[in-house]
């Protein structure tokens, strides 16, 4: 590590609010239950709505009989595609609910029951009789599916196909080659708080108030305005506290549209909280990805060819293409490359964002293939990555604003006690191995507004429509404000989670702190200047200053801006049961300036735990017979339990990058998941000598791989 560009954070001392391990401002409210979430808004005369999911995977509704439902006590109404209000336009067709009789996938909402009580709404929903004309469905993704096509763009606005040089010829000529396929199954975000909204239409005032569990209230307000043909100032969307999202609340989801339909219909506040069993089909999932990777290298490890071809699915409702080949455009210096995506629209629920879309499945495949290449070369996989470190972004040729991947690998190797390739250990029936993988995540920035207000009593109020989905955003924004105002942290209070505040970006794409923080920084800096010019005591109304980062955030950077990281894992495989457990997990990140070590560590560790789940336990199976996801609750969808989570360490390089934002920060919410699954898979391979190329690494697969005899899956090299 070069001390002139980076130092290890633990040696840095914070003399300002930024960089201090400040506890969450709302921590006490949350642990005491005082924090109110979207479904917990106890408004007078509140009613409840419960949606009715389709029970066929493809077809058409031919009749909806609501007689039985409407006869139940306390039922206020049942909306169906035949009588639901017509919605205005939306970019997202998954929000065009109850607008026609087509059923694009099992679980698609076909009716909505509204009643005095939650139980009444649920009973009414159960009593709705829907008749379908069903058609044969297709939910199986495979390479060679006849419906596959190359889309124009993939998620994030990236081109679907990129090619540099002649990768096929370069691969054919390469003295060392790896040609491998990996599969990542569908995965679900499953935030702890389900998707929920309480909507309150005040017909007299012509105003709609919505408490929504979402990652950004500005976008929810704007989309609702279009759908319900209201002006934006007729709608207020609030999200004071949100119990996780991981991307699945990044845009409005069906629950909030249905809640608004219901309050407009019955004229009372209505709460709709999705049952966990509905969520697999209605709020998005990580699409399955099939990866074909070819790597060519010279005997010294220098990459000469890289081909990453991704096959994935989307729904019949909306094209969403997981950009899993995109990280290969960033990672390694290679002249001849092809990165491409093909997608087919199946009769499946609509996929969407899940923590580090693209990077997570893409880097699992790429970093597993790099490990296979290291095997083929007989080279330390850390050294192989160092050898191929890219001086400029391979796909664009742009210089990196900062890139400390090598430092992350070296620091991680030192901390972890990495010794390169060594024979696996055996403890009784346990095989023990270690693995490494790299991580990357892009720096995005989105425009935001903010307002800072100085009160005569010496306190400050900062207003920004940030959403704290559990990350600590509220806390770190106060730190940014305090430093820009040159005042103690406790002099600053924050107002967030309200669409009436200056517009804020979505808490997604690891952009939140940078995007809101930039606006907060600018507003507070402007207020500081205004206060400096002000003579005498402040007026009773105080003094304010605003900022809007639209111009600065939209400015195209000449730099390629990405966070990088390195993951190290030690795993054990039980030769009796095929059970794989992680013993140690360590990540080192280069993600710009870390503004709050306490909440940052929590983000990194949270991402790593989610990656551990992806590696070992999480999978959603598409039922061939019924067309829906088989795992529909947290007993069946196995997120890691405490017992699965070993000693986890997150460290970071204190990276100084002048080409980001005034705080010098990169996003940290997603990179923790990115390389974790590959590091665990690589460790399992090292432990057992067997390469499993399909996630998750469940006992059935591991046991089959451990059976004596020739290796079923084969091994490169």
């Amino acid at each position: 590590m070069s001390p002139t560009t980076a130092t290890v954070a633990s040696t840095a001392t914070a003399t300002t609010a930024l960089g201090a391990s400040v506890p969450r401002r709302e921590g006490r409210e949350k642990v005491t239950g005082a924090a109110r979430y979207a479904a917990e808004q106890h408004l007078p005369l509140r009613a409840y709505a419960w949606p009715v999911p389709a029970t066929v995977a493809r077809g058409r509704i031919t009749a909806v009989d609501t007689t039985g439902a409407l006869a139940l006590p306390g039922v206020l109404g049942v909306l169906t595609p035949y009588d639901a209000p017509r919605l205005g336009p939306s970019d997202d067709p998954t929000l065009q609910l109850l607008q026609d009789t087509r059923v694009p996938h099992r679980g698609w909402y076909v009716a909505l029951a509204i009643a005095d009580t939650l139980e009444g709404a649920r009973a009414a929903a159960d009593a709705v009789r829907v008749t379908y004309e069903s058609e044969p469905h297709d939910v199986a993704l495979y390479e060679g599916h006849p419906g596959l096509y190359t889309p124009e763009q993939v998620n994030g606005g990236y081109p679907a196909h990129r090619e540099q040089g002649d990768p096929d010829a370069a691969f054919a000529d390469a003295p060392v080659r790896v040609d491998v396929r990996y599969a990542v199954p569908p995965l679900h975000n499953h935030a702890m708080e389900p998707h929920a909204a309480t909507a309150d239409w005040d017909a007299e005032r012509g105003h709609l108030t919505v408490y929504d569990s979402c990652q950004g209230t500005t976008v929810v307000r704007n989309v609702l305005a279009g759908l319900f043909r209201l002006s934006q100032d007729q709608i207020t969307v609030l999200a004071e506290h949100v119990g996780g999202g991981f991307g699945s609340k990044g845009t409005p989801r069906p629950h909030v549209v249905l809640a608004v339909m219901a309050t407009r219909y019955c004229g009372r506040p209505v709460t709709l909280s999705l049952p966990r069993q509905h969520m697999a089909a209605t709020v998005g999932h990580r699409a399955p990805t099939l990866h074909h990777i070819r790597l060519g290298a010279r005997p010294d490890g220098t990459l000469t060819a890289l081909v990453h071809e991704v096959t994935t699915h989307t729904s019949q409702v909306r094209e969403f293409v997981e950009q899993a080949a995109v990280p290969a455009r960033v990672m390694y210096a290679v002249q001849d490359s092809r990165t491409t995506h093909r997608v087919t629209a199946l009769d499946v629920p609509t996929p969407s964002w899940m923590r580090a879309p693209g990077e997570t499945p893409g880097m699992y495949a790429l970093e597993s293939a790099m490990d296979e290449l290291a095997d083929a070369l007989g080279m330390d996989p850390v050294e192989l990555r160092v050898r191929n470190d890219a001086p400029t972004e391979p796909d664009s040729g742009r210089p990196f604003s900062t890139r400390h991947l090598v430092e992350c690998l070296r620091d991680g190797a030192r901390r972890f006690g990495w010794t390169g390739r060594r024979p696996p250990l055996r403890e009784g029936p346990l095989l023990i191995g270690t693995g490494v993988a790299a991580a990357t995540y892009p720096v995005y920035i989105a425009p935001s507004g903010a307002r800072a207000h100085a009160r005569p009593d010496g306190s400050y109020l900062v207003e920004v429509n940030a959403t704290d989905i559990g990350t600590g955003a509220r806390t770190v924004l106060a730190q940014i404000a305090a430093d820009a105002l040159h005042v103690p942290l406790d002099a600053v209070s924050l107002a967030i989670g309200n669409s009436a505040l200056p517009p804020g970006a979505v808490a997604g794409g690891s952009t939140g702190t940078a995007s809101w923080g930039w606006a907060v920084h600018d507003a507070c800096t402007a207020l500081t200047e205004r206060l400096a010019r002000h003579q005498g005591p402040l007026p009773a109304a105080g003094l304010s200053a605003s900022a809007d980062t639209t111009q600065s955030a939209k400015q195209k950077s000449p730099y390629a801006r990405h966070a990088f990281g390195a993951h190290f894992a030690e795993v054990q495989a039980d030769t009796v049961t095929g059970e794989v457990r992680v013993r140690r997990l360590l990540g080192v990140y280069a993600a710009g300036r870390i503004l709050n070590p306490r909440t940052a560590r929590s983000q990194f560790i949270g991402g790593m735990v989610m990656g551990l789940g992806m590696a070992l336990t999480e999978h959603s199976g598409l039922d061939p017979a019924f067309g829906d996801f088989a795992e529909r609750d947290l007993a069946a969808y196995h997120v890691p339990a405490n017992a699965d989570v070993p000693a986890i360490e997150a460290h970071w390089i204190d990276e100084h990058d002048k080409h980001l934002n005034p705080m010098g920060s990169k996003g940290i919410g997603e990179i923790g998941i990115v390389g974790t699954a590959a590091a665990i898979g690589n460790a399992l391979c090292q432990a057992t000598g067997r390469r499993l190329r399909e996630l998750p690494l469940t006992p059935d697969r591991v046991l089959a791989a451990l059976e004596p005899g020739p290796e079923a899956a084969g091994r490169a090299g």
Binding site: R122, D126, R581, P624, A630, A635, H638, P699, L703
Partner: protein
Amino acid sequence: MKPFGYVRATSLQAAADAYAAHPGSRYLAGGTNLVDLMKLGVETPGALIDVSRLPLDEIRELPDGGLRVGATVRNSDLAADPLVRTRYPLLSLALLSGASGQLRNVATTGGNLLQRTRCGYFQDLSKPCNKREPGSGCGARDGLHRDHAVLGHSEHCIATHPSDMAVALAALDAEVELYGATGTTRTVAAAEFHRLPADRPEQDTVIRPGEIITAVILPGAAAGSLSLYRKARERASYAFALASVAVVLDLDEGRVRRVALAFGGLAHRPWRATTAEARLTGAVPSPDSVRAAVDAELARARPLRDNAYKIPLARNLACDAIAELAGTHPGSPATP
């Protein structure tokens, strides 16, 4: 949730009477499974008869060295009981491998035996299930059935029983004590308490309408035997068994005097491996003889499209557990 009545029983007879008086009623103890199923609409009882406050929460020593475990003893209390830990360590291990700490604090001994399958098709009203709705078909057979049965299943049902505790009880030759509507008491062997699905998968157990589990009797004969419970699962806690095994072993000068072997996660009930037991009794439990005996048992398995892995998994678990108890473990110091 459908409206339902609620009766708090003050005595066993009052509970039985209330059951008879309320058609379609269910006994409520911990409710950790029943209430979930009511929310899903799988169970729609006319009334809940709350037996959780009946004086059935004692663990009592029996003259033969066994234990009488009241039906409402909580799973966590049973697992932690010093006599259980000393005399029947596999029962404690089995209990602690099930559910979560919070659930074990609430779930009862009787309720654990009466919990229903976690088959996703059973829990989803929009799909066919012969167990939930006789004659509607089995959704799991053509659907996803990685977790389902490989032994003793029928064309009507391929569900597994989810209990860990019941597997240990089957291996211990425990008995289930039942109180009937007419005030009579009978006992049923734990290994016979759960049924195979055959053509009546809606019937999980041999319990008769209105009967209440009052106790589980742990026989003195098994007290102090070598015993072990091992479970394979997808995550380290709070997951049902892909396969599990309960073993009780008595050795006499290197030979098996008595062995009890039961599998969990493989069938509609805890699978007492009588074929393997018969082969092993009197034999030297060498790795080869154990493997042959277990293979003979598992030769009866009929795996489905997605779950053939359960057979080698169960075999490995059983061979490993017996080897560990017999001291012939490949990893144990006694053998190279």
